[in-house]
Amino acid sequence: MTSPTGQCPNCSAPITFAWPSAVQTVCAHCRSIVVRHDVDLRAVGIVSDLPPDSSPIQIGTRGRFEGDPFTVTGRIAYEYDNGGWNEWHLLFGDRSSGWLSDAQAEYAVSRLVEQPGRLPTADEATVGRRYTFGSVSLQVTTRTTAKYRGVDGELPFEYWDKSAVLFVDMRSPAAEFATLDFSEDPALLFLGRFVGYDELSLEGVRRFEGW
C-alpha cells in the first residue's frame, strides 16, 4: 500500500495517508483538518472535540461487506434533536469507497451513486413518497436536519465547516436503504442496505468497560 506522506501545515508533524485517494485527513498531533490539493497540504481548520461517542466502530476497524474486505479510514459525526450518528468511511479492498452508518448500533452500508439521474428536490421528497433507484424501490421514512459535529480520519472529499444538513432517508421492505444528502446541490444519493452487527465480521472494534 502506498502511503503518501507529508507534513502538517500547522504543526509539521508527519501526515500519512493510508489511502492514496484521500482528499482530507485530520492531523493526529494537533487535530488540524488537512486537505490535499495535488501535492499541497493545507490546514483548513481545527477539529472541534468530537462529542463522547459509544460506537463500537473506530478508525482502523476492519470488516467485510458481502465478501469484500474493508477498513474504516474516517468518520463524520452528525447530531440532531433526538440523537446522533456516525458515518464511517470504508475503504474496500478494490480501493472503492463506502459508508457504514451507525445510529445507536443500527448499521447500514451504502455507497455513493455516481450518476443517479434526476433526484428529487428537498421539497419533493416528503415522508411517504416512493422512489426507485435502479432496481430498488424505497419509501421516504424520515427527514432529518442534522448538525455536522465533526470529522476524523481520512475522507474521500473535503468535508468540514458544514452547517445544518438535510438528510432524507428511505427504506424498503427488504431492508434496503437510501439517503439523499442535501449538503450539496444537486443532492448526493447513497444506496445500500441495513446490516446486522455479526454480518460485518468486524475486527479491531472498540472495547467497552464491563463488556
Binding site: 433526538n82 427527514r143 427504506r171
Partner: protein, 421 residues
Amino acid sequence: MVGETTGLNCRTCGAAIDLRGLTHTRTVVCSSCGTIQDPHDPTVRILQEAWARMRITPTIPIGTRGTVDGHRYDVIGFQYRTIEVEGETYGWNEYVLFNPYYGFKYLSEYDGHWNLVTPLQALPEMAPGRTSAARYAGKRFRHFQSADAATAYVLGEFPWRVRAGDVVHTADYVAPPEMLSAERTEEETTWSHGRYVDGRDIWTMFKMPGSAPRARGIFADQPSPWAGRTGRFWRGFTVLALVLLVVMGLRFATASRKPIFAGAYSFRPGTGEPSFVTEPFAVEGSRPTTVEVAFDTNLSNNWTYFNVALVSMDSGSALDFGKEVSYYFGRDSDGNWTEGSRRGAVRIPSVDPGSYYLRVEPETDARSRTAVNYQLTVREDVPTWWPYLVILGLLAVPPVLVTMRAASFETKRWQESDHAG
C-alpha cells in the same frame, strides 16, 4: 475515552445516577426523586413529581443482565404505558435492553405475557385484502388494534428524549407468535417486530428468582396451543376414515346374504285370525349375525303393517318388531307419481346362531277387501352400514373438539382487538 460517562449527580436532589447506556442515553430518570434529565444537557430537567409518586416496580429490576438471542443485554430503562379503549385504561410495562455492539431491544409485559421487541430496519408493506394487514418477511400480519399510547411512568435510561406524557399513535398487527407494531408521531413512523416469549423463558434469560407468574387471558400474538393440532387431527381422521371405508367395502363385498327361509303368503283383511307362525329355520355359523326379514308385496294403493316376532326355539325368547310397507301411485297434472315401495325389510343385528321361527301378524286398512300377497324372505349375514357411520362419527369427535377449541381461542384473542365480532 471508554467508560467516561458512567454516572452523574441528579440536578434536583444530588443523588448519584448510574449510566448504563453509554452516550446513547438521552433521558435518565433519577431513582431517588424521579426527575427526568438529559445527561448531556443540564438545561433539560423535568420534574415529574406525580410520576415519582406512582412508584411502579418493574418486574425485572433496572440493571439486570440477561442473555437474549445469545448476547448479553442489560435492562437500562423502564416505562409504563397506557392506552384507552372504550373508556377503559389498559397499561403495560416496557423495558429497554442494551448491548453496545448489538444495540437496543425492548421487552413488553402485560398480565404475564411477554414480547421481545426488535426495532425493524425493513419497512413493512400494507398487504392487499379485505382486512387491514401488513406484510413483512413473507408473512401476513393482521391488524389487531390501533390506539394512542401514553407514557405514564418512566425509570432508568432511554436512547431518546422522553417527554412528559408522550403520546404516540400505535398500530399492532399479529401473526402469532409474532407481532408488528407501528408507532407514529408527527415526524415519523417506526416499526418494530415482537416475538411472544413464555414467561418461564424470560425468567431463564434474566436469571430471575422464583418462577414466572401465570399469564392471564390471551394476548394478541400468543401462539394458540391448538394451532397445528387441528390439521394433525383432521389428517389422522382422514386416514382412519379411509381405513374404515376399506373395511366396510370388504365387509359388503364378502357378506354371504344367504337365504335361510322363504315363504309365500296371502292375507285378506276381515277373514279369520291373521296371525300365523312360520316353519322353523336355522341361523347358522358360530357367531351372532345380522338377520334380514324382507317382505315383497303386491300392494297397490294400500298399506300393510307386519307385526313380527323372531322367536328362538332354544330359549323361547321373542324379539318383537314391526314393519310398515305401503305403495301408492297415480297420475296428476305433473304426470305419473308413486309413493313408497312394495318391498320392506328389517335388519336385526346380533342374532345368535340357533333355531328360530317367525310369528307374523299383518294388519291393513280395515275397509280394504283386496288380498295382499307377499313373499317373506329371511337372510343371514346381511351387512349394515350404520355401525360404520357411528364409528365415523366417533372418529370425528376429537378433530371437531380440537377445531372448536382452536376457534374459541381465536375468538377470545380477537375479542380484545378492534375487530371483535
